[in-house]
Amino acid sequence: MLSLRGVSKTYSVGAFGGGRLNAVLDVSFDVHPGEVLSLIGESGSGKTTIGRMILRLTPLSAGTISYDGIDLATLHRHRLKEYYRHVQGVFQDPFSSYNPIFKADRIFSMVRSEFFGDVDGRTWAAKLDRALEAVSLNPDDVLGKFPHQLSGGQLQRLLVARALLLDIRYLVADEIISMLDASTRIDVLNLLADLKQRGLGIVFITHDLSLGNYISDTTVILRHGAIVEMGATVKVFGDPRHPYTQALLASVPQLHTRWGAEEAAHATNGSPQRLVEAAELVPVDDDHLVAAQ
């Protein structure tokens, strides 16, 4: 289990670093195996920072993240590498995740030299085939090609395959389909759903509420770094209690339904007021918490 307890991230801002900016404020949640948890928020809500902290790419200012009871901050060298065997990330822009000079499958040989130095060629090839099959790619289509010869969807699936080569238990998927075309993005989304069925825990980071709703079991709505509402996806989307969640849902453009006549919320006008203290989360239902207002 991946669990976050009171996680905060504070940046120094301003000319002499005198100002404080709370990018993430007192965030706690758990991700279980076989669960998809969506972190949904607008830009600046801290969703990507949380993903980076789970991957240990950004240090925490306060709180703890633990994996199966072990605090991530205590992991070093060998044990950190072990952690990365189990927890991996895939990011937004598939085109910048690859080095354009090298062939795309270099990402696999790098995993091999880093983690599987003692595995012989045939076993490795079989392993690679299994990983590619899991992301429904045909090896002939993608191996030996340069990144520019592949589509965004293929590149993104290769990155998921790369993560699958390691025995991952958790995947941090940060806006992995927002750069893809509508006709291919749903396939990558379905791929995540299949992986979940095989027991993978997924932290799905997105700004798109309809995508979060489609795939996740649990939804966490973030605003200015703090959680405003969290719980089972059906409850958060079906019965949103916090005015912010309600406003977000009302703004989502939908097919078949036009926006209501009410004035759109100019919520992000000017520089938004940052919260200094996170509001306490109050349970309103089974598995449904809302920030006190």
């Binding site: 989304l189 097919l255 078949h256």
Partner: protein, 332 residues
């Protein structure tokens, strides 16, 4: 008819040959119409938008005719297009957030822009302030640098600047894509409001996001691989699409309330053909579940019902293009 485009061809010059980004494109835009232009990346939608105002260095005009309010637009001649730009055709660029000069205060930038078009800034200032107020910006923005504004504010500022001289045609290229949902809604509704208030006569809104188009557009034109696939009212495109590509595209969009456990959506297998050497016949043939032998012949883009044009043999193009036989055998 505000805008008429006839068999427009624009190619990109590359070392490997010509990329046929717009291949025989023709449509009409009525006065006061907001037309959404949708399609996957590389389908030519941005090329079409750019062609109407300025061809960049790599783009080559091959043929076709564009008429705006009865006057032909000389898009092949960069100089001759100048009198039309901004006054008659205006554009909100794809990266409106970075379209503002970072070294100028916004007011000064607008003054310089207007002077280059021979318009007096002071004379237009009251109108400018009125419009800024209308989109929810205070007139202070004129004394600010672009860096001091948030993304949504910059976007709205650019929208006001682009439409200041009441152009006949406004092209908005992916202007809501980089915005958060609540800002996106505000920007999109403001844009539609510009047409209602008569700041622009008609509008082409380019985006890959059909659900945003459905909110503001009157008609939607779907492009595929440099060709037009379907044009119809927004309601028809979303609820009763006829082209198989549009159908698959609409059915692949997740909506709030749709969950994969209950309703698993699927994408469209394959990818669009290369436009360097596009295949003969229908370009969607390889990915199309309805493809048959006749698709080897290119389907024309033809009106199959009132205000509903499609380029697909399966969608009744044949019946519309050949005169119907008087009596059909009823009982088969």
């Amino acid at each position: 008819m505000a805008l008429t485009v006839e068999s427009l061809r624009v190619y990109y010059r590359t070392l490997a040959g010509d990329v046929k980004a717009l291949d025989d494109v023709g449509f009409r835009l009525a006065d006061g119409e907001i037309m959404g232009l949708a399609g996957e990346s590389g389908c030519g939608k941005s090329t079409l938008g750019k062609s109407l105002i300025r061809l960049d260095g790599r783009m080559r005009y091959i043929g076709g005719r564009i008429e705006l309010d009865g006057e032909e637009l000389p898009i092949w001649d960069d100089e001759a297009m100048n009198p039309f730009r901004y006054r008659h055709v205006s554009l909100i660029p794809q990266y409106a957030m970075s379209a503002l000069n970072p070294t100028r205060k916004i007011g000064r930038m607008i003054r310089e822009l207007l002077r280059s078009r021979g318009v007096d800034f002071e004379a237009i200032r009251p109108e400018l302030e009125r419009r800024l107020d209308l989109v929810g910006l205070s007139t202070d923005v004129l004394d600010r640098y672009p860096i001091e504004l948030s993304g949504g504010m910059k976007q709205r500022t650019v929208m006001v600047i682009s439409t200041l001289l009441d152009p006949s045609l406004l092209i908005a290229d992916e202007i809501t894509s980089a915005l958060d949902v609540s800002t996106q809604r505000a920007v999109a509704t403001t844009l539609a409001g510009f047409r209602d208030r008569g700041f622009v006569k008609s509008m082409i809104v380019i985006t890959h996001d059909l659900s945003v188009l459905y909110q503001i557009a009157d008609t939607i034109l779907v492009m595929y691989a440099g060709k037009l696939a379907e044009k119809a009212s927004a309601d028809d495109i979303v609820s009763a699409p006829r082209h198989p590509y549009t159908r698959l595209l609409i059915s692949s969009l997740p909506e709030v309330g749709v969950r994969y456990e209950e309703h698993r959506l699927s994408g469209i297998a394959g990818r669009p053909p290369s436009l360097l050497d596009p295949p003969q016949g229908c370009r969607f043939r390889d990915r199309c579940p309805l493809a048959s032998a006749r698709c080897a012949k290119e389907p024309p883009f033809i009106e199959v019902a009132e205000g509903h044009s499609v380029a697909c043999w399966e969608a009744g193009v044949e019946a519309a293009s050949t005169p119907k036989p008087r009596e059909r055998v009823e009982a088969v």
